[in-house]
Amino acid sequence: MIEYILAVVLFAIGLYGVIVKRNLIKIIIGLMIMEYAVNLFLALIGYRSGGAPPIVEVGKNQIFVDPLPQALVLTAIVIGLGTTALLVSFAVRIFEKYDTFDVRKIRKLRG
């Protein structure tokens, strides 16, 4: 149970970064922390105490961890990489236009 609370605490840290911080790069880092917290939670769901890696042979009776959440998390990591690259490229474009990462100064229309 304590592992799941750890994942929730990690998610809360990321949410704090997204809500409180005003630097765009720090907001992106907060989003990444939230994403990794969810990945950690999903990988923990598939964990079995004392389980082997999910490479098993037919006929052998042994405990192994659930491979389905791991495959799901691998896909989620790929998608997270794509969204992070997109967000960072947006941040680069915003910095080119406004010369700042501060979200309070980006509101003004300039063009």
Partner: protein, 147 residues
């Protein structure tokens, strides 16, 4: 983007071949051990990223790198699609493991399980080139180049 100090350059020069070999190992053993095409591709892309960060790169050379990375990425996707289409060429379904009869899956054997290692190699090429293209695009953005 200019390079870093001599210590960083020398350590990168020593470490980069090991990282590259580890990435190739993870790609080749994708059907036997944890990892596979994506994880190995990330390692290979990390090797090239490390070298570019340590030694630096001019704007023109970065543009050439980006073109080549895009080309290799497209080649990886095409290879994956070709492997998938082999089933249709043979007269069965899309993505059928056509070598499963002649090359069945043996636990622990490297040359086994039909087209799965070939798919892993295609994915590894694609992911390595795509991640390197993302990195080099951000490096080109630092020169103020409009893409």
């Amino acid at each position: 983007m200019q390079g870093m100090s001599l210590i960083v350059k020398k350590i990168s020069q020593i470490m980069a071949p090991s990282i590259f070999i580890l990435g190739m190992y993870v790609v080749a053993h994708g059907h036997l051990t944890p990892g596979g095409g994506f994880a190995g591709g990330v390692l290979i892309a990390g090797c090239f990223t490390l070298l570019i960060l340590a030694y630096g790169s001019s704007k023109e050379r970065s543009l050439v790198f980006k073109e080549k990375a895009s080309l290799i990425e497209s080649g990886g996707i095409f290879l994956f699609l070709f492997i998938a289409l082999l089933g249709l060429i043979q007269g069965t379904l899309f993505f059928v493991n056509i070598f499963s009869r002649s090359n069945p899956g043996v636990p622990g054997a490297l040359f086994s399980s039909g087209i799965i290692p070939l798919c892993n190699i295609a994915i590894g090429v694609e992911v390595a080139a795509a991640l390197f293209a993302i990195f080099i695009t951000f490096a080109i953005m630092r020169f103020g180049e409009k893409l």
